[in-house]
């Protein structure tokens, strides 16, 4: 198992290396002034020239590339134009905010999806199941942007129950890191984006769980579990749902990558100070070092979550042994 993890991390590093190379090329081979992507175009020409010289942007691409990679392995992504500090220090906090929102939404979506899907399979053909399917499909097709704005309109503007944006109220200063993420104020801010993100995530685990559950319920070991005189609940949860979970976890691993798109949108709508929103803002502000860094960190995040999902899968299914 540990050999497998090491191998996976190694291949992750290679993938990251390739991604970084592509990003390096992307930002330099784009049409227009390539230096514009490296040096803030808004500063005076002489100063600009100086910086270009200092950053080595007049060097050949090969020299630049070597330097870019050298910096990268030291986790040096360059300085953000906008924040005037290192891109990494800007993104560190954002990464935490993104991970928390994403995990909260995933847990909510998968929690409801897995139990709801199992319930739907159990009550197949009932009115309740049809309603659940309809709702899931509406959720799946509703544009996240719209759902987010509606949620803000109803719960913040009309009812005034929950804050409409950001991660904490203005003026609020956390005394320590724990308070940053576990204060009541923070949790209140977390609710709306989590629910909207979960709505976006929900359809996949819910419908998938329902379908695999229906398949599993036809298996011989389910009949055996019934023959053993187990309670219907035990048959359903310990035997059927436990097995139906496996493909749902696999799908979840694949889903994480595509979920990032929704995550970016949600962070943007709720002004959630996360990686996704920062990525959009950085691109808008032509803050290329920051954009590059957030791309690479996002890619690493997806790969790590994928690995975690794979390991979870191996833990859940004894037939899988990673060597």
């Amino acid at each position: 198992m540990s050999m497998y993890v090491i191998r996976r991390i190694f291949s992750m590093l290679i993938t990251l290396f390739i991604i970084s190379t592509i990003i390096f090329l992307m930002f330099r081979l784009m049409p227009g002034d390539p230096t514009a992507s490296m040096v803030d175009p808004s500063i005076p020409p002489e100063a600009r020239e100086q910086i270009i010289e200092r950053l080595g942007l007049n060097d050949s691409y090969f020299v630049q590339y070597t330097k870019f990679m050298q910096n990268l392995v030291q986790f040096d992504f360059g300085d953000s134009f906008y924040y005037k500090t290192s891109a990494l220090s800007v993104l560190r906090d954002k990464l935490g905010a993104t991970v928390i929102l994403m995990i909260a939404a995933m847990v909510l979506a998968y929690g409801i999806g897995v139990f709801g899907g199992a319930w739907m399979a159990w009550r197949r053909g009932s009115v309740g199941e049809s309603i659940a399917i309809t709702i899931a499909l509406i959720f799946r097709s509703a544009p996240t942007f719209w759902v987010g704005i509606m949620a803000i309109y109803i719960f913040s503007v009309l009812l005034g129950w929950l804050p409409h944006s950001g991660m904490r109220s203005s003026g609020y200063e956390a005394e320590n890191l724990f308070q940053t993420f576990f204060s009541l104020d923070f949790l209140k801010h977390l609710i709306l984006p989590t629910v909207v993100a979960a709505i976006y995530f929900l359809a996949t685990p819910l419908l998938m769980m329902r379908n695999t559950m229906l398949e599993v319920l036809g298996e011989d070991f389910i009949e055996m579990a019934r023959a053993k005189g187990l309670t219907e609940r035990r048959v359903l949860f310990n035997h059927a749902a436990r097995n139906a979970l496996l493909p749902v976890v696999t799908a979840g691993a694949l889903f994480i990558g595509s979920a990032i798109g929704g995550q970016v949108l949600i962070e943007y709508v709720f002004s959630w100070p996360g990686l996704g929103r920062e990525m959009v803002l950085a691109a808008q502000r032509h803050d290329y070092p920051l954009a590059q860094a957030s791309f690479i960190i996002m890619a690493a995040l997806i790969m790590i979550m994928n690995l975690v999902a794979d390991l979870l899968y191996a833990y859940l299914d004894p037939r899988i042994s990673y060597k």
Binding site: D220, F221, A227, K228, H239, L246
Partner: protein, 344 residues
């Protein structure tokens, strides 16, 4: 009093194409310690009958008529919860497709412990000890309790399931083709083991097979099923020495029996009848070499030819002639030709 009495049992499946009469008017009795064999080709309703004894029919299957009296109580009338308590504790099963009968994500030992704890107050420790004892009985190493199903061979899995079936010492064990998924050598071993264990435990048994050579060693009484009906019911001795029904005769040709080694195997041409819309008359008429117009119109009832020996055929008096003819290839070739002519 009999342990199990099945009276006039009728089971139907609701399918997209209509109602399928899987089991029709079955009657039999099983005494304590007795073993009854259900034989017949695939699709004759053996599994359906077996499952109904545990009220384990799939959702589209229903007992439409009849009684299943087990230990004096009619199982057909019992509530789901009453049935749940009875399953495995009183009636256990070695299912037809037991290759997939174990849950792949749990250790085999835990699955046995689960069965024990579902019906007794046994502690985990006691249940594990019982499982170890059961594994010893079926000749599996104790450490196999820790295995997952995919780590075991087909024969081991089958033994584990037999061990599980014995766990609560049920009065009745149903074995539905317990060896069909195994290779020939393993089939023999498992079969001997089942016979051995049955003698030790002395439980009653319903033993299902499509291979009649198997029942000769295992059962006291044999029920020949065809198209959801019992065509012949006899003691094992009568079944082999004094068979009456043309279907029984045909079956005996199709399998090598212990007594007639070296004889040519002749299988019965055609396939079991369509139970969605059964034709009137005898269910076996299309494939019977001796069928007459009467067989097409009148359904023969089971009638006694000797004590405890029942046959559903209009021509039980011609049995001597049938037996001689049934041994001849040409008799069955005739059926083959007739079926071909009728466009089967």
């Amino acid at each position: 009093m009999a342990l199990l009495t099945v009276k006039n049992l009728n089971i139907e499946y609701t399918t997209e194409d209509g109602v399928l009469q899987a089991v029709s008017d079955i009657n039999f009795e099983l005494k304590e310690g007795e073993r009854i064999g259900l034989v017949g080709e695939s699709g004759c309703g053996k599994t359906t009958l077996a499952k109904s004894l545990m009220r384990l029919l799939p959702e589209n299957g229903e007992i439409v008529h009849g009684e299943i009296i087990f230990k004096g109580e009619n199982l057909v009338d019992k509530t789901t919860e009453e049935i749940r308590k009875l399953r495995w504790k009183d009636i256990s099963m070695v299912a037809q497709s037991s290759m997939n009968a174990l849950n792949p994500v749990y250790r085999v030992g835990d699955q046995i412990v689960e069965a024990i704890q579902a019906h007794t107050e046994a502690t985990k420790r006691e249940a594990i000890e019982r499982s170890e004892e059961l594994f010893r009985m079926v000749g599996l190493e104790r450490k196999r309790l820790q295995s997952y199903p995919h780590q075991m061979s087909g024969g081991m899995k089958q033994r584990a399931i037999i061990a599980m079936a014995l766990a609560l010492e049920p009065a009745l064990i149903i074995a539905d083709e317990p060896t069909t998924a195994l290779d020939v050598i393993m089939q023999d071993r498992i079969l001997n083991q089942i016979i051995q264990l049955q003698k030790e435990v002395n439980n009653s048994m319903v033993f299902i097979t499509h291979d009649i050579s198997v029942v000769s060693e295992t059962c006291n009484t044999i029920l020949v099923m065809y198209g959801g009906k019992v065509e012949e019911q006899a003691s094992t001795r009568d079944f082999f020495k004094n068979p009456h029904h043309p279907y029984t005769l045909g079956l005996q040709n199709a399998f090598p029996s212990i007594t007639d080694i070296g004889e040519e195997l002749i299988s019965i041409p055609g396939t079991p009848p369509n139970l969605l819309d059964p034709q009137p008359g005898c269910r076996f008429q299309d494939r019977c070499p001796f069928a007459t117009d009467v067989c097409k119109k009148v359904t023969p009832d089971l009638s006694e030819v000797s004590e405890g020996h029942l046959v559903a055929c209009h021509y039980t008096d011609k049995v001597d002639e049938f037996r001689i003819k049934a041994k001849e290839n040409s008799t069955w070739q005739f059926v083959q030709d007739r079926l071909a002519m009728e466009g089967y």
